[in-house]
Symmetry: C2
């Protein structure tokens, strides 16, 4: 399903030797894309391309995105080989590399899809098979669309009634703290809004260049966007020994070191955590807000996993709520953008690319600039806006679809909680794998103890990349090496989603256990 | 439906005096966003914002996007005033500012929406009301989606079968010239792909900074993207006296002048033209390709209006086809990206944000970088991908939906052709308005003769902005001033879509005629 291309050149250079033998290149030409041939004009008509590796945008070259990196490309190729009948020690590739719930078999929420279908093809509004609440919802949305059609552009910030529904959702979530629809910007998934905010925040040159603090390990959208914008990445480390907790002293260390070479302007938090699965305590969030206020940092809170909290004693607290509960000294001053998406939680509707951000205390003139900036792309996709509306405004207790909705939502979240526990339990029985509790989100980021000989055998490439590639070749399980997210030097990890169906997840975990044992023995 | 914000600060500064009295600001605070207050920390707790007009990205400040600029914001406000019962000399706002066919009453193609509904809610596959071809199409698409769901991510370049369908569509369109699915990148509307290509093409500093040639008048996505990327805009003028034709000597003048201050790298063409509605001849396209080859420019062909050709003797020729017909000297060397979309033509499905680009002769390594870059945003919205698949692979003559499809498509295109003619005819009866034939696309860009006194009364703001704002206030008709697209100094224009329903369009044209007469008399 994915195109077969290799990203060796954009990956860590150390992997090149491995990939060049592993991959066959099928992009435009049959030839291997490595190394860069130095072409010049000559009498034979061989002309250097206008757009080549030397003339292209150097910031783009620096972008890395491990979640769809070389391991995934190899996984796609293996899938094709399996289809073509190539013999492998396994019968299918299991992609536990990306938080893609539907691809792993999770079913859509019936009500959501009914309303989308009704909006797409309004003739169905006459159909008796659809419940009245779905029809009412569809009618209301269509009335807010130009010409009553999903095919019209919306306002660039999103359909007004949907922005109002988002504001009401946030108010309810946060115990009544007011939310203004004028502060809501709908987006093409959360990624779009995050990149837009980072874009606004990037300025300066040399030592005045904007610096943005991101956690390590991080979700590589952040490092990729910062590379593209040529902003400075300021890394702060989460504490693996404290369940991937965030310590303000580490934030302070990082920002102080950074001030010597850039102008720190923003602090990004992912809560619940990706790839680490931790859930921040209320106290921790307060500390972070106080730190942002003291250090004059714009806060970006990536809260797309807000419904994905599994561990006992853990609870999701939005940055907005904590900020407002800290009183006017903070709630009137600290600038915050928080992000949500249709892609995660219990619905997992990644393909619709729905999302929003809420901005708090943003300079009114900057807001006008933000509105102008998003208008250049016209509007977020309308089906994604519709999906988002249903997420923030699901069936109410007095409506006919309520019971089914609650049943489906609860089942999805319970199964995820069960799989979170299962993952932690099984990994922690493996000697050489140490796994923090998966408190939330959809991932585990266990630490690997790798033998010295394995590190030597990796021949300079990231040892966890070597490990994951071998795992893929031997078992068909596709994970992302920890090096793609960042980790403390000398440590090794992988990220695995907890999304495969329970029975399949058990097999995956058992296969990783067996592989780890073999791997350790082979290199001991 | 659109949020009420004013973009005065990003608009030409000369308009500020007008807007500051005209607009009430409702963004976050009630205060007017003009002018920039210079805030500093003081004992009263007034702190400068972290993100303010001085610290924000200066490139974003330079972005302008007239199609959704201040006139449109004012139009939205007037709509609200009408709803609130404010008396106006008209009863509705008619938005002829944006190519948004469904908002203007065009109906969706039945087959397209049936398939989208079936994909969104596959229970409908059991419903007898849907024709078999729609069901087959939906089944085929769902089989290519992860987990059989629109909610799964696709490959970042798009769903593989859809890319194959796009390639077949291009082959058929271009008389059999081969198209490789590996060269097809699906996108979030054409805008997304255009910005991505411009991003790849931007590099260098000072005199080596990338320059990109764009037509004047232009579609402001281009100038906006170049401003954001801090690339150099190289303007070449279309010849209004030759029906907005493109002359290679003008391209040469522009590129030679530009070489003194930047490194010209790319040439953007919009054909059929936006905002000018011209359709390029085959000869013209050949000349442009030869010029691009000689001057070593990457060609970007924006062909989103490829079905919108109305004038007798005019025909759409794709750049790809002409390039390949020119022989291997060109077809093996000239680098080309061409763009298409679901938003225009006969379908007008803007809200789905579907599109693709085909890249020809792209450096294989740059292609890997392109694939990596698009992977950071995960994938284009799946419903938009589905819509695109239907556009490139509509019902076949032996299928049950064929007759209705052809009827709907033909009707939409015939009505557009009729309105194109009507617009030209009526405008050309008005003394002081001169209008080229609307050969294609969805717009007319007539030239206005404005009295000297009107120009003086505009008090330094663009006279056509003054004209359009007055038109809006007096008639409720929302157009975009020519100054938002660029025009030769001393000339004045507006862009109007031909999309209002025929009877309404007649009224619009009559009202503009009457307004123009009044305006001319008032300022004579």
């Amino acid at each position: 399903m994915e195109c077969v291309v290799s990203l060796c050149k954009c990956w860590r250079p150390v992997c090149l030797c491995l990939f060049s033998t592993m991959f066959r290149f099928r992009v435009g030409s049959k030839q291997c894309a490595l190394p860069t041939p130095k072409m010049t004009e000559n009498g034979l008509g061989h002309r250097e391309k206008v757009l080549n590796m030397n003339t292209m945008n150097p910031n783009v070259k620096r972008v890395e995105y491990a979640v769809r990196g070389p391991i995934v490309q190899r996984a796609v190729q293996i899938e094709k080989e399996l289809k073509e009948g190539v013999k492998k020690p396994f019968s299918e590739v299991i992609k536990a590399n990306i938080g893609d719930a539907h691809a792993m078999g999770q079913k859509p929420i019936t009500f959501f899809r009914q309303v989308v279908a009704l909006c797409a093809y309004p003739d169905l509004l006459e159909d008796n098979k659809f419940p009245d609440d779905a029809k009412n919802r569809a009618r209301r949305i269509l009335q807010s669309c130009g010409g009553g059609s999903l095919g019209a552009y919306s306002a660039s910030t999103g359909i007004e009634v949907i922005r109002q529904d988002v504001a009401r959702y946030i108010e309810k979530r946060d115990g009544g703290i007011p939310s203004n629809p004028d502060n809501i910007y709908l987006s093409t998934g959360a990624s779009d809004a995050i990149v837009t905010m980072l874009k606004l925040l990037t300025s300066g040159e040399g030592k005045t260049r904007s610096g943005v603090m991101i956690s390590i390990p991080q979700y590589p959208l952040y490092s990729a966007a910062l590379a593209e914008l040529a902003a400075v990445q300021i890394s702060y480390y989460l504490d693996e020994d404290k369940c991937w907790g965030l310590d303000v002293s580490e934030l302070r260390r990082a920002v102080e070191a950074a001030r010597e070479h850039c102008k720190p302007r923003a602090l990004c938090i992912i809560n619940p955590g990706n790839p680490t699965g931790q859930v921040q305590s209320r106290q921790c969030i307060e500390d972070v807000i106080r730190f942002a206020a003291e250090e004059r940092l714009f806060l970006m809170a990536d809260e797309v996993y807000q419904d994905n909290v599994y561990a006992e004693g853990c609870q999701f607290h939005s940055f907005k709520k904590v900020l407002f509960e800290m009183g006017p000294e903070y709630s009137n001053t600290v600038e915050l953008a928080s992000f949500h998406s249709t892609s995660k939680c219990y619905m997992g509707e990644c393909g619709f690319r729905g999302g929003y951000m809420e901005v708090i205390n943003m300079d009114p003139q900057v807001k006008l600039q933000l509105t102008k900036l998003v208008s250049v792309r016209l509007c977020p996709p309308i089906p994604g806006q519709v999906l988002l509306d249903l997420v923030v405004n699901p069936p109410r207790p007095d409506e006919p679809s309520y019971a089914t909705f609650i049943k489906e939502r609860t089942a999805n979240l319970e199964i995820l909680a069960e799989k979170a526990k299962l993952t932690e339990q099984i990994f922690n029985t493996v000697s050489g794998i140490r796994c923090n509790p998966v408190q939330g989100a959809m991932y585990t980021f266990p630490r690997l103890t790798l033998p010295e000989k394995a590190i030597a055998a990796a021949k300079g490439q990231a040892p966890d990349m070597f490990y994951c590639m071998k795992l893929l070749e031997e078992t068909g399980i596709c994970l992302v090496p920890g090096s793609g997210f960042g980790q403390r030097d000398g440590t090794h990890h992988f990220r695995m989603t907890i999304l495969p169906a329970t029975e399949k997840l058990k097999i995956v975990l058992e296969n990783i256990r067996a592989f780890h044992k073999r791997f350790t023995e082979e290199f001991s």
